[in-house]
């Protein structure tokens, strides 16, 4: 074995900086682009948003433990301002509402219901919508039909749909969830279709077909696997909007039935006190705002990190 160069440069002297004794340069491990988690964590706003979301979710989850009062029990101290304002009472951190119920405790329970409504409807609508979108990208034959159908759904604003469903089913969280889910369907379908038809144009789909894969396997292993993360990101972005619409429905007097606390409903009830005890309406509104803001900021950051192509 001569010392003549082979394809393998021996890492002797100062060439040590050439790093690992890779057999071929192309095999040298590339400097790792920081993992997406790490990159996410570098974005301070995203960290703050994720932290906020986490805290809110935990708070909502453990509402029974954290609540300082029974959210449904009224007291005689009505319209107490938040603790930091004059007239506030430290026992009622965020004050009380028009019925003397502790707003802090109701907020916890309200966030619980609000988040639940958002999650279930976005989950349901996202699932159905993405499936429709994926299918219509996968089977161009049914594409036109499915998309016409989606157009139709799209022409019913969620709030209208909610109103109509409440008319049919009576007030409650269920019709709101259904309305929100249905109205999420066309949006998710549209996005999923966009993503999926991008993937369908890729040659590897054809390669999979050429290998002899069945449609089902092609759909699952090739299309779905390549779209799922983008779709999930979009669905997570949709979450904020769904919560907003849900709150608007509650505000209009649909949604959960009393005494259940729901943030939109709390705001709606509080508007009667707007002039005199603004905190009753403002606190739940701000809570919604914070949740949606955190969801949006976190969703944006997630998208930027995971799939910058997705924009809306």
């Amino acid at each position: 074995m001569t010392m003549a160069a082979t394809e393998t440069p021996e890492p002797k002297t100062e060439t040590a900086s050439a790093a690992t004794p890779a057999a071929k340069p192309e095999d040298a491990p590339p400097p790792r682009r920081a993992s997406w988690g790490r990159r996410l964590m570098r974005d301070r706003a995203a960290v703050a948003a994720l932290g906020t979301l986490a805290i809110i979710c935990l708070a909502a989850l453990f509402a029974p433990l954290l609540a300082t009062h029974d959210p449904y029990v009224n007291t005689r101290s009505v319209m107490t301002p938040p603790a930091w304002q004059t007239g506030g009472d430290i026992a009622y951190l965020l004050g009380t509402d028009g019925q003397g119920r502790d707003i802090f405790s109701r907020l916890l329970y309200g966030a619980r219901l609000t988040l639940l409504i958002g999650l279930i409807s976005v989950g349901l609508g996202g699932f159905v919508g993405s499936m429709i979108g994926l299918l219509s990208a996968f089977y161009p034959k049914i594409d036109a039909w499915l998309m016409r159908f989606m157009d139709m759904l799209l022409s019913f604003p969620a709030i209208l749909l909610g109103l109509a469903l409440v008319a049919v089913m009576g007030q409650g969280a269920v019709p709101v969830i259904i309305a929100l889910a249905i109205s999420s369907v066309p949006d998710c379908a549209r996005i999923a279709r966009g993503i999926a038809s991008g993937v369908m144009k890729m040659e590897f789909i054809e390669a999979g077909r050429a290998v002899g894969l069945s449609d089902a396997a092609l759909f699952r292993r090739y299309l779905l696997r390549n779209c799922i993360s983008s779709i999930m990101i979009f669905i997570s972005l949709r979450f904020g909007q769904v919560i907003l619409i849900g709150a608007a429905l509650s505000f209009l007097g649909l949604g959960a039935r009393p005494p259940l606390a729901e943030l939109g409903m709390m705001a709606s009830q509080g508007r009667d006190f707007l002039l005199f005890a603004p905190h009753i309406a403002v606190i739940p509104s701000v809570a919604i705002f914070v949740i949606v803001l955190a969801a949006n900021v976190a969703g944006d950051a997630l998208r930027d990190v995971l799939d910058p192509r997705l924009q809306t």
């Binding site: 009224n74 005689r76 007030q171 009393p258 006190f273």
Partner: protein, 503 residues
């Protein structure tokens, strides 16, 4: 211009056809656009002449003869005659119109114009309430030609009345504009029989409660009796706003029980509910002491009130409530709800949205403390009436204006009125008999005693949970002349004849 008064109110009416519209939102405008045979004084007791300058009642109390004023004209200038009144009353009670308030006209045998200025009103049975009912908006005199010409659009695109104001335009859900009826001089004596003092009245719809308050504050409205209780204190403190109040107004808000539904069929439960709900606290905290907590079914000041009832009022005592329940065998189950013989105390209440929903929530919270888990089902004012005619619920909320004890009792406790407005399903022959006797009574004493007996009976049975009695409060900007609130059917401004600006 300054001669335009903007009245703020909560909701619009579907149309303005007197017998077809039973809601306050219709009546309050109709009172201004039209006139009735007689008027009611703001003391809520005295009947005053309006279209009828006088009337005679026959011995048996079955026939009323009205002598009609001369010179009364419709807005379009056409003279009004007894014929028009007869037409209007007959229209009110005609089966085709299906008016929900036809019964208020009494058991009519015949209403005919004897001549241009004499009207005969003949009943099958004496009806002591008749004049009060004739003062309500349902008997507002309409113009036959106008009715027939507009058909389905009557009260929608126009209305030809004899009232102090005339229909100018209606933008549904936004505003109703009325203009002064020139030459009007047949108003009730209490208002001095003259024409309206402003040129224009705008009834503006503002559904948001706080917005109404703010709108008055910022001068976007001149007068309103739909100010939320929370706003009244604030308005009172404003230098440019006056709030006046009338206690001669009888309006009670109550929650009724369907007494044949499991759970609430047990008088002990109903009693316990009456004990458990802190109405005083509600009146203070939720209504800012603008209302009086109610314990009796009709106000003490109402005609024919039975003082004996005072001994049977159920006041707030949650401990007693628990005791009553436990004595009756209603024990807490694992969920903290009382239960007996497989029946859990989870009564469903049908309630209006808005203020009533809040009331129900407070009641709900109080009841929860004694182990009763009330379920609230709010309905919009337009649908709830249909819902309340069913047997689906256990409890319901209702508020009603009245002038006398009999007014209230006749409405709610006659078995013939099941399922609505007797939504309690109160089916008691003795009550029926007493009520019939009272209606036909020819002396005040007899009537008072009969009504008093009924009142005592139902009060003892705890078929209601009275919540509060609400006075009429009108808030207006100070550059308006002082207003004396009226309370007929809850219409605080009645004919609008006192509306005037001082400058």
């Amino acid at each position: 211009s300054a001669q335009t008064v903007t009245i703020l109110r909560q909701q619009d009416s579907n149309k303005y056809d007197p017998p077809a519209i039973t809601a306050l939102s219709g009546s309050e405008v109709l009172f201004m656009m039209g006139d009735t045979l007689v008027a009611l004084n703001e003391d809520m007791q005295t009947i005053e002449p309006l279209l009828a300058k006088s009337w005679d009642v026959s011995e048996d109390g079955k026939t009323y003869t009205f002598h009609i004023k001369e010179g009364v004209k419709f807005c379009d200038g056409k003279p009004m005659t007894a014929e028009d009144i007869a037409y209007s009353i007959n229209r009110w009670i005609s089966p085709e119109l299906k008016s929900g308030v036809a019964w208020r006209a009494g058991d009519v045998k015949e209403v005919v114009a004897l001549d241009d200025y004499t009207l005969k009103y003949e009943l099958n049975a004496p009806y002591s309430e008749l004049l009060y009912q004739l003062a309500q908006s349902f008997g507002t005199v309409v113009d036959k030609e106008n009715v027939e010409a507009l058909g389905a659009d009557f009260g929608v695109t126009g209305f030809n009345g004899t009232g102090p104001f005339c229909w100018e335009s209606w933008d549904p859900r936004n505003e109703m504009v009325l203009t002064k009826h020139e030459g009007y001089n047949w108003g009730p004596p209490m208002y001095g029989e003259g024409a309206a003092k402003v040129d224009k009245v705008i009834w503006k719809i503002v559904p948001e409660e706080s917005t109404r308050t703010v709108a008055l504050l910022t001068g976007q409205g001149d007068v309103s009796y739909y100010v939320p209780y929370i706003g009244l204190g604030k308005l009172r403190s404003m230098p440019n706003i006056e709030v006046v109040r009338s206690d001669a107004a009888f309006w009670t808000n109550y929650i009724g029980f369907k007494i044949d539904k499991p759970g609430v069929s047990d008088p002990a439960v109903r009693e316990a509910i009456n004990l458990a709900v802190n109405r005083e606290a509600m009146a203070e905290d939720m209504f800012f002491s603008e209302v009086d907590p109610a314990y009796s079914y009709v106000s003490k000041g109402a005609l024919d009130y039975n003082a004996e009832v005072d001994a049977h009022l159920i006041k707030y005592d949650p401990d007693a409530a628990v005791k009553v329940l436990e004595d009756a065998g209603w024990m807490l189950n694992a969920d903290g709800v009382r239960e007996k013989d497989g029946v859990t105390l989870e009564p469903v209440i049908y309630t209006f949205t808005g203020e009533w929903a809040k009331t129900s929530e407070a009641v709900q919270a109080d009841l929860l403390k004694v182990g009763i888990n009330m379920q609230i089902q709010p309905y919009d004012a337009t649908v709830i009436w249909g819902k309340l005619a069913t047997q689906e619920f256990d409890m319901y909320t209702m508020g009603f204006p009245y002038v006398s004890t009999g007014d209230a009792l006749n409405l709610y406790f006659r078995s013939a009125n099941i399922p609505s407005p007797n939504r309690m399903n109160w089916d008691d022959p003795e009550t029926d008999k007493l009520l019939a006797d009272a209606a036909a009574a020819t002396t005040d004493e007899k009537r008072a005693s009969d009504y008093g007996d009924v009142l005592l009976k139902v009060q003892k049975a705890a078929v209601w949970l009275p919540i509060y009695e609400k006075p009429m409060q009108v808030a207006y900007v100070k550059n308006m002349a002082p207003i004396k609130p009226h309370n007929i059917y809850g219409a605080g401004l009645y004919k609008g004849l006192q509306l005037a600006f001082t400058d």
